[in-house]
């Protein structure tokens, strides 16, 4: 059977670092990039005698996320110990949630070429992150940095509802957008604060029995997720096609070779010896806390997208880009409060503004100008005070200096010439200088018209009001 006769089945496990100020079981800072082992204390170093104390912010974030993903938030959940030895795990166990997680049975709607699709979320639980081992640090030594040990994580596990690599990527992007909207995660795959493992299996099309699955690790970009899943699907199909059996194992994505390779087999899998954490009582979340979190829930990306389309008259394409990240959506709405034409505003956002943000590498939060100033600029373009092209220059200047658009237009002399007399003089001059072309035009070669417009604009250094230039040229040429 060719690949097309197989149905891939994919589920994702996402680890998202929570944006709390302090760690999950001690008061140490969660800041990224500190000097190694700077953000540590006896508790997160796993000293003898230490005990964990739960950071309540972590619970708030978990409840918020659970509600946003339409989960059941459990009023009682239980902490467990996951036991294994590794130098980056100071206590020799990770405090996590196992059989009684805080949230269960949610859903996330994603867009696919066939339309909307519901991906079920099986569970969300809280746990502590491990530290980092640094190998080949010199002198044949390995070093351990425990700054990350105890940083709070949410693990979000989907049901195996994804059917191809594109759906997996779409799910991951949509989930990332939601978490960033909620303010619980920074969505940074490269720094590892948003991580993803994929469970992949294949089965003959039409079958209802899932094939043996493999867990893929080291997928630290959307591109790697897509490539790894696609590679793994074809690998598993090849195994089956050549008469073999897919064996359950953990496989690592090899970025350089573009293949997945076996990391450990089922037989080599750890027995984590989970048991309830005796140092922490079961976690109770009150109805009031759940209600309060529900009330404080922000508008989520999908709801915002629908609203942007109806409220601002935007096509789905525009609305999607504008709502992908909450700061951009918020800024758009702030501008829209000063400027009525949503589509025109969107054009400026999707064109010039996003180009500038990208080129200058400026975060939206550090923007030099105000929403009112952007609206003022667009108003000036509408009124013909500046040409649309000159307006782009003005925006660039606003972006860099934060000066008011009116000041920039005045300073740079970018105001558009709408004085009919002045334009007429230039038109007459151009037509006189190009008598030959005028002949051709009158003889029916209408494409020469563009040449005249270009010449006039050039002579006016781009400042001529294009509508007036057009009108006057046509009049003079006898149309």
């Amino acid at each position: 059977m060719p690949v097309s006769d197989f149905q891939p089945v994919i589920g994702l496990e996402v680890h998202a670092q929570l944006l709390t100020q302090s760690k999950i079981f001690c008061g140490c800072s969660t800041a990224f990039g500190a000097e190694p082992n700077r953000n540590t204390c006896p508790v997160c170093l796993g000293m003898p005698g230490v005990l964990p104390v739960l950071n309540q912010r972590v619970v708030e974030f978990a409840v918020r996320t659970g509600l946003a993903l339409e989960c059941t938030v459990k009023k009682t959940s239980v902490w467990s110990r996951k036991n294994y030895f590794y130098p980056d795990l100071p206590k020799g166990y990770q405090i996590t949630q196992y059989d009684l997680p805080i949230c269960e049975y949610g859903r996330l709607v994603i867009d696919t070429p066939q339309g909307e699709k519901v991906i079920r979320v099986r569970r969300i639980h809280m746990e502590e992150d491990a530290g980092k081992n640094v190998h080949d640090a010199g002198g044949g030594q390995s070093l351990v940095d425990l700054n990350r040990a105890g940083v709070p994580l949410l693990e979000i596990v989907s049901e195996p509802d994804l059917r191809d690599a594109d759906e997996a990527v779409e799910y991951l992007k949509t989930l990332r957008d939601v978490l960033m909207y909620l303010g619980v995660n920074d969505g940074n795959l490269e720094e590892g604060s948003f991580r993803c493992d994929a469970n992949v299996s294949v089965m003959p099309k039409g079958s209802s029995t899932y094939g043996q699955r493999c867990e893929l690790k080291n997928l630290n970009s959307f591109r790697f997720l897509k490539q790894a899943v696609e590679y793994e699907i074809s690998r598993q199909v090849d195994v089956i096609e050549s008469g073999g059996k897919v064996s359950q194992e953990t496989r690592l994505w090899d970025v350089n070779k573009g293949v997945t390779r076996s990391m450990r087999s089922k037989e080599e899998a750890h027995d984590y010896r989970y048991f309830p954490e005796p140092d922490l009582p079961p976690l109770h979340v009150s109805d009031e806390a759940i209600d309060a979190a529900a009330k404080a829930l922000p508008e989520l990306p999908r709801a915002k997208l629908t609203r942007f389309m109806s409220q601002y008259g935007l096509p789905a394409y525009d609305a999607r880009i504008l709502t992908a990240e909450r700061p951009l959506a918020d800024f758009f709405e702030a501008c829209a409060a000063h400027y009525a034409d949503g589509k025109k505003l969107s054009n400026w956002f999707l064109g010039e503004l996003m180009r500038l943000l990208k080129e200058e590498g400026t975060p939206l939060s550090a923007l030099a100008f105000t929403p009112a100033q952007l609206a003022e600029l667009l108003g000036a373009v509408d009124k013909g005070t500046v040409s649309s092209n000159a307006g782009k220059d003005v925006l660039g200047e606003m972006f860099r200096t934060g000066k008011a658009p009116s000041d920039i237009i005045a300073e740079k002399g970018l105001a558009q010439v709408s004085d009919t007399g002045a334009i007429e003089a230039v038109v007459d001059d151009i037509l006189a200088k190009n008598a030959g072309e005028v002949e051709k035009y009158r003889a029916g070669k209408k494409q020469v018209f563009g040449f005249f417009v270009g010449q006039v604009m050039k002579a006016m250094k781009g400042k001529g009001n294009p509508a007036l230039v057009n009108d006057l040229l046509k009049k003079k040429l006898g149309d």
């Binding site: 003898p48 005698g49 005990l51 036991n83 048991f275 005796p278």
Partner: protein, 486 residues
Amino acid sequence: MQLTDLTMLELAAKLAERAVSSEEATRACLERIRQVDSKVRAFLRVDEEGALAAARASDARRKAGSPASALDGVPLGLKDIFLTEGVETTAGSRILEGFVPPYDATVVRLLKDAGLPLVGKLNMDEFAMGSSNESSAYFPSHNPWDLARTPGGSSGGSAAAVAAREVFGALGTDTGGSIRQPAAFTNTVGLKPTYGRVSRYGVIAYASSLDQPGPMARTVADTAALLQLIARHDPQDSTSAAVETPDYQADLEAGVRGLKLGVPREYFIEGIDPEVEASIRETLREYERLGATLVDVSLPHTKYALATYYLLASSEASSNLARYDGIRYGQRAKDARGLKELYALTRERGFGPEVKRRIMLGTYALSAGYYDAYYLRAQKVRTLIREDFTKAFQQVDAVLSPTSPVPAFKLGEKVDDPLSMYLMDVFTLPCNLAGLPGLAVPCGFTKAGLPVGLQILGRPFDEARLLRIARAFEREHDFFRRPAPL
């Protein structure tokens, strides 16, 4: 009479009237240690400098008329399971040899804040796993009442030091009887508080759901006074109870008239030493004479306590002791090649046989495929044991029993027979499984002159009543005045 023969409260009274200085009392302890500890071997290390500095600071406060607490200046010893900033702490294990903690346990901080000079760290079974102090990686302690015998365990060093009058009192920990059994073996008073009454922060964990620090002293009143200082809610221990601390001295002399005292039939079993049984029976009769009513009660799941305890305690221990991996602190096998060998050699050399036995037992009980049959089943039985007590306490105010089925046994006698060693704890384990307070108080001696201890078990947070019941008996006798024949 020597200074060291005073009780804590007697010394405190002399300190308060400035008849004696804390420095004198501390020097007296240090001198007594020099005299007798080569025989008793209660101390793993003595912090002479730290204790004297604390004593002098205490004297300055007394002089200024602003003592930090009622016991300000009373020298105390600590089981080596309590982390002491700047003072080596090993839990009786080779693997922590040379480990100098960067912080104080909550109870250590409370004692320092209350002005008590801390004389040194007391010997114990390795990681509190044992009933005779013989699993200490360093040396066994000896019972001051018969140096050939064990002072019990795991807080054997603490009990021996108090009984030998090397310190006025000490802190121990009790996971399955580790405070009460050594107290019973040494003619001292030991109290295991209700689980959650005293903070476990900074106490090296053996079995987290069972461990509980508590006071050890020569008298009931001393025990109450020491408990007063350490029974506090601690935000750093999530299992610490937010229950108000009563005045433990207030009703101490109130007697037992009108109290109903339960006698559990399951605690008077075959195999109990006849002299121990006779002593306990006589004590029960005395309580009747003092006005209490004895009531037969049944704790039917007692026979499962031993198996339940060893499954749960070992399971938790197998996880709690994973951090001793040679990576960050303590001993490391420096000759190991590769990570796996580093772990294996460090732990092979660092842990003694009893600790290895329990780690293996616990690892097995938690393994996939065995978890339900062992760990989970044991948790269910634990609930039944707890319910036994809940029912009993509907009928009675406290439950009385022997602390140990036998008096102090000979060092070396049971070392090669772990099961018979485990059986030593059969009367003390249920209390830990149920999270209840339990107290051991001296109630007599065998013909050979070995101490016998009565155990009193109570409702959660009913320590004051246990102390009151113990005091009612103590008042009629002078056992605590009797010095060990050193």
